[in-house]
Each structure stands twice: as structure tokens, then as C-alpha cells.
Symmetry: C2
Subunit: 110 residues, 2 copies
DNA sequence: TTTGTTCATTGCAATAATACGATTAATAAA
DNA sequence: TTTATTAATCGTATTATTGCAATGAACAAA
């Protein structure tokens, strides 16, 4: 019914899914890559850089901020965004553990 | 308008987003973890294991198969699923490159 | 104070995703 | 052949996501 039944999964599984979901849109991937590339925080140039309308970018930034992956500093009329290193590292650990699972034995079929 | 404007992003950004999106639901995370754990392919026990209805699991499996992360073998009336090691490794490389980006210099703000 | 700039929020329309009952298809077993 | 089992597909209801025009809030500059 359009609702993910989160209560039937572990906290770990839900956390992985939450992080993955935020990476599940190319605009957010592009925003993060740009923030990594520029390093120095970026303000509203993201709108020019990405090519989506200002409210749309603002919405994507909000989601990234909600998960703690970026933080924003108000500087006069503009807001300066950048990667939250500490939280990015924490997320990286969680996602890496999931991605680097391994099949130890040989497989029975397939 | 509910549509991701994929044409304005790079192939790499779209690919990262596609893989991430498939991990963006706890049921698919759970399915993959179970396939890793059991190793030997699993059939319809996924329905019992996960706790969602059979058509729902079947739909999630279809998405995972579409991206090439799992493969299925028909064995009589049941179908045996398992991780596609090769494609999983390819995906891991793409996602790891994204996750392990790093900020080289010090930051200007935040 | 007035004007301009920058960004967040609201409201809405369009599309996508999630979930499942009902059905179908394919095979196995009786 | 008939029945049972397993899994895919169809149809549909519900909710979520995406995108943007319009508006609002905060601040800077004139």
C-alpha cells in the first residue's frame, strides 16, 4: 500500500535502506559529489551547477541534512553547505559492512 | 513531477542512484542479507523469512534480478535464487568509489 | 525605509513505489 | 487426468516522491 513496513525489519536493515534511499536520486548524488569536489562549502551555485529549480534543490538538500550527511551555515543571505565528515564516515561504515558481505562457501545452485 | 530528470546527470550518477534505489527498501536489504547468509540458494522460504506476501517478495526479487544482483534457477515448481557474485562485485566497486570520496583540503566553513 | 538577493516553505500536479488479493502458468504428485 | 504446489503476473488501492510556481522570511545594500 505504498508504505514500507519498517517494523518487520531490523534497525540495521532500516538504517541501510534509509541511507541508500537518499542516494537513490541522481540529483542528490550530484550534489554530494559537487560538495566533495568544491570542498569549500557551496551556497546557491548548486542550483546553477545541477540544473534543477531552486525549490527542488532546496528540498534535496533538506533530505541530505535530515540524515546528517551535510550541514549548512547561514552567511548573510546565502547558506553554505558542506559534507559532515563525521557522519559521512559513520554512514560509510554501515554501508560498507553491507556491501562487503561475502559468500564464504561454494554455492549449491545458480 | 515525480520523474527523475535522468538526462541532466552523468551515466555514473544515474548508475549510482539506480543501485542505491534498489537498496532503499528494507525488504530488499533483508532478502540480500538472507541470500548471503544461506549462501546455498533459497527458494520461496524468503516469503516466510521476510514476512511479506508472496507477490510482494516476488516483485522485490524481480527488481534485484533486473539490476543483475541476483539470479534465479527454476527447479521443478520452485525457483532458487542466489547472489550474482560477479555483478555484486561490479556494483561494489561503483558504490565504493562514491562512498570513499574524500575531502583532501581543510574546509572553509561549517 | 525601500529594494534586491538568497533560500526555505507551501501547495499542487504528475509520476513512482509498495503491498496484496486474485489469477495464471508451470510443474510435480497422486 | 486431476489435484496440489510454487511462483509470476495482473489489477488496484494507497502512499511516497519529484518538480516547480508562488510566496514568505531573513538579511544586505541603497
Amino acid at each position: 500500500m505504498g508504505v514500507s513496513k519498517t517494523e518487520m525489519f531490523t534497525d540495521q536493515q532500516n538504517e541501510i535502506a534509509l541511507f541508500a534511499k537518499v542516494f537513490g536520486h541522481p540529483a542528490r548524488v550530484a550534489i554530494l559529489q559537487h560538495l566533495f569536489k568544491i570542498n569549500a562549502c557551496v551556497c546557491g551555485d548548486l542550483v546553477n551547477e545541477i540544473g534543477l529549480a531552486q525549490p527542488t534543490i532546496s528540498q534535496h538538500l533538506k533530505e541530505l541534512k535530515y540524515l546528517g550527511l551535510i550541514k549548512g551555515n547561514v552567511e548573510g543571505t546565502s547558506v553554505c553547505y558542506c559534507i559532515d565528515k563525521e557522519n559521512w564516515t559513520k554512514m560509510k561504515t554501515i554501508m560498507s559492512d553491507f556491501l562487503h558481505q561475502d559468500l564464504t562457501d561454494n554455492q549449491n545452485c545458480c
